[in-house]
Amino acid sequence: MTENKNLITGATGDWEIVLGLEVHAQVRSAAKLFSGAATDYGGEPNTQVSFVDAAMPGMLPVINRKCVEQAIRTGLGLRAKINLFSVFDRKNYFYPDLPQGYQISQYQQPIVGEGALLIELEDGTEKSIGIERLHLEQDAGKSMHDQHPELSFVDLNRSGVALMEIVSKPDMRSVSEAQAYVKKLRAILRYLGTCDGNMEQGSLRADVNVSVRKPDADYGTRCEIKNVNSIRFIGQAIDYEARRQIAVLEDGGKVIQETRLFDPQKGETRAMRTKEEAHDYRYFPDPDLVPLTFTQAWVDEIAATLPELPDAKKARFIEAYGLTAYDANVLVAEAEIADFFEEVVTNGKTFRDAKAAANMVIGSVFAGLNRLGKPLAESPISATQIGQLLDLVSANIISGRIAKDVFDLMFEEGKYQGKDPMQIVEEKGLQQVTDMSVIEKAVDEVLAANPEKAAQAKEKPKLAGWFVGQVMQATAGKANPQAVNQLIREKLGLD
């Protein structure tokens, strides 16, 4: 067992958090799991509801092939066992947004079995988190409790939307591991196109199982925190819950196994008031659905269409472009970013400077988009244009510094926005000065204007940099910085 560096210090010594996650990921599909109603987000109440979704008498479920395919696809992406035979069960309980009085889910025989997911820890090492299972099930409708003093309102638009419940093993030991797990899972789902991962809209929700124990002791009693819907809240909920449990235990109390809710306003978890009588869900095989069976050939067919996933892409970025693990990690977080980067770095059959390309994408593009509050798809500059900008630098037509200015002109609103970099350089006369006589003249002027500093610099060679800056300033940044540097050192007699 590796040493856990994320222990919490309590009054009685150190405690270890043990975390397992059940993530509900909404399957990307046009229609629902067992009906032909739409899954679009944000429709008018009860407009995306079929008689099946409203559990009208005599209605029967018919499974959507696409949802099955998406579950298999996700299972393959999690390197998990795909079960060619699985069973739909009914999970029976009463709730106003559960029209059938049961949820069709998979209990003992899920469509996907054990798998694994690799997360990157803060110190750069990796850790494998076990996947226990993935199963298909129906989403419930939505209840609104704050619209009326005596009534709750029910909208069934979500009722019957396909969910994949992805259950991890209790392998995580810290907030950051849990957050890394959700981020990585979300990235994989988005790469696969099986879930859009939109946590604000609820397409990805996490139930967090939290327990604490003394290092190397047996697992403690766990509490399940339901429906935590952002990465930040996952962190807050775990922090609060772990400390609560430690306080209970250190007070000589016992943790009660229960379902809790996270209150984002207060940053607290609290026990649910609705009692779910001992969770007696009376699971049994749904008699309306014969078992789900498919062939290995179909699974293989799906496997053949799987895209390159983040882990493989990261390894390739390091290998092919010589990127650092850190840069590669950032770039592969989203498939579109990785694709954008590859477009920037690729120049026909050759590669541009990968470090410069990575810096441009991670630094300039991300920062710019953040400022604008826009997604990558709406970037004012294309990857091709960024490639052209990099080419101007490597051809010594502009310096890296000027390149940043040109980038800003291309990016920000104004007459230059979206224009090709060469055009801007020409229009604004930003070409680098490479004529040595012009540079020498500028150097001489600066040295002449600062005789004392020049004398000092002969003793303290580090001061040469100051002269470079002065010359660059005098030439409005257009002088070739290497040439300036060399000339100054020569004239100061430093070489």
């Binding site: 008689f51 008498p57 009463f94 029910v154 007696d280 049994f284 309306d288």
Partner: protein, 500 residues
């Protein structure tokens, strides 16, 4: 009974096609019959106006030579089938005034073939019962009564499709749709001297039929003869994209299968069906049936279905378990009855407590119990394993024979109120029919004679899965041999002041 209501489905069809009378006349005659038979309580919703509109349309199609297979024929519908814009209740208070905005596949098939909708028929609440007495509309009554001093004593029509059976026996409709989960078509057919056909599980779509026990429920027909059942099944049956338990198989021409010839057919006689407590008249009738088959050239074979005895106990775990879940949707939120409560949970409890009758409550509780934590393996899982053994018994028997012949019920119709306080005694009615549902097989009850008290008795034939053709062929021969022509005395018309 008028001349027109005396007709069977097949003869009425032929008369319409020949232009002997119009659909409007035929339907009008049946509406009159329905109105004169209200004392039977077989009909819980009369839709005469709509029936006459449909009949008119049928007449137009008949005139243009565009008649469907059931053109102009008034066919009653058990109130378990959802009918668009027509109140559908499953004869439960919990559905209140539910008006489905959709039509069940099977009824849709009927109307598409030209059949005329004119009545929703009584049944046990959610099809749970064997006497029709659990209906929230009160029991339908059996048109038949005993001879002698009991002649005024009302008898049950059987259940759950009691209204369908009574309506067909009393000539209220030419035929009726029904459903069968453990004998709900065959037992009432036997009690009323009608033919009751339960097709193989998966032969007809369940879409739009209010579910009782999903793995057992199957739509079927109650008719006055085997030919009518064959015709009706041909229209009801067929694949349905909306029901994945409905099988994609071509629908044969069942009427054409009635060749009258069963020479060489191997008919199995299961020794385990000679149960204790079976009425002597029924034993005798069974032997009679065996003799008729022999005379018709069939080969009679002794077979064994060793797990027969366990079918009823397995059924009374599986059916309530599925029902407890199927009936969870009746919660007062989206349709049906709602009773006020202190909070949401109490609203559920009050609504369901008030909406479900005693038998439904009993089964929901049993079903909940056998699925609950700690009992699932001992009850539900065990029952599903026994179910497999029962199905295997039949599969083995069908290696030796083509069809199985048994009585339909252990007794003739009983009196209203006689078994209502003894659930187990009531359950025993289905002892001979339940194994067929567990195995998913097609079965038919054919009226074969009267008992010593003048009440009709039925013989049951059980076929191989999806071999309704052989089943109907054999049933037709049995029917011909039995020559069951007795009719109940029309006491209900006297009660209405109408002289028959």
């Amino acid at each position: 009974m008028s001349e027109l209501t005396a007709l069977s489905l097949a003869t009425a069809r032929d008369g319409l096609q020949a232009g002997d009378f119009t659909a409007s006349e035929l339907v009008q005659a049946h509406i009159a019959e329905m109105e004169s038979a209200r004392a039977l309580n077989a009909v819980i919703l009369e839709t005469a106006e709509q029936a006459l509109t449909m009949a008119k349309a049928s007449d137009a199609r008949l005139q243009k030579g565009k008649a469907g297979a059931l053109e102009g024929l008034p066919i009653g519908v058990k109130d378990l089938f959802c009918t668009e814009n027509i109140r559908t209740t499953a004869c439960s208070k919990i559905l209140d005034n539910f008006v489905p905005p959709y039509e069940s596949t099977v009824t849709e098939n009927l109307w598409a073939a030209g059949a005329v909708q004119f009545a929703k028929l009584n049944n046990d609440e959610f099809a749970m019962g064997s006497s029709n007495e659990t209906s929230c509309f009160g029991s339908a009554l059996n048109p038949w009564r005993r001879k002698g001093e009991d002649k005024d004593k009302p008898l049950v029509p059987g259940g759950s499709s009691g209204g369908s059976a009574a309506a067909v026996a009393a000539h209220i409709g030419v035929a009726a749709l029904a459903t069968d989960t453990g004998g709900s078509i065959r037992q009432p057919a036997a009690f009323t001297g009608t033919v009751g056909l339960k097709p193989s599980y998966g032969r007809c779509s369940r879409w739009g039929i209010i579910a009782f026990a999903s793995s057992l429920d199957q739509a079927g027909a109650i008719t006055r003869n085997v030919r009518d059942a064959a015709i009706l099944l041909g229209v009801m049956a067929g694949a349905d994209d909306k029901d994945t338990t409905c099988i994609d198989l071509p629908v044969p021409n069942y009427e054409a299968a009635l060749s009258g010839d069963i020479r060489g057919l191997k008919i199995g006689i299961p020794k385990e069906y000679r149960i204790d407590g079976i009425a002597a008249d029924i034993e005798r009738l069974w032997q009679q049936g065996i003799d008729w088959c022999k005379q018709a050239g069939a080969e009679l074979i002794d077979i064994s279905l060793p797990h027969t005895k366990y079918a009823l106990p397995a059924y009374y775990i599986i059916a309530p378990a599925e029902a407890s879940s199927n009936l969870a949707r009746y919660d007062g939120v989206r349709y049906g009855l709602r009773k006020a409560g202190r909070d949401i949970t109490n609203m559920y409890e009050e609504t369901r407590g008030a909406g479900f009758g005693a038998e439904v409550r009993r089964r929901v509780l049993i079903g909940t119990y056998v699925l609950s934590a700690g009992y699932y393996d001992a009850y539900y899982l065990k029952a599903m394993k026994v179910r497999r053994l029962i199905a295997d018994d039949f599969a083995k028997a069908y290696e030796k024979c083509d069809i199985v012949l048994t009585p339909t019920t252990p007794s003739a119709a009983f009196g209203v109120g006689e078994n209502i306080d003894d659930p187990l005694a009531m359950y025993l009615n289905d002892i001979l029919t339940v194994p067929v549902n567990l195995a998913g097989l097609p079965g038919i009850s054919v009226p074969a004679g009267l008992d010593s008290q003048g009440l009709p008795l039925g013989l049951q034939l059980i076929g191989r899965p999806f071999d309704e053709e052989t089943l109907l062929r054999a049933a037709h021969v049995l029917e011909e041999a039995a020559q069951f022509t007795a009719q109940p005395k029309q006491w209900w018309k006297e009660q209405n002041g109408v002289v028959s």
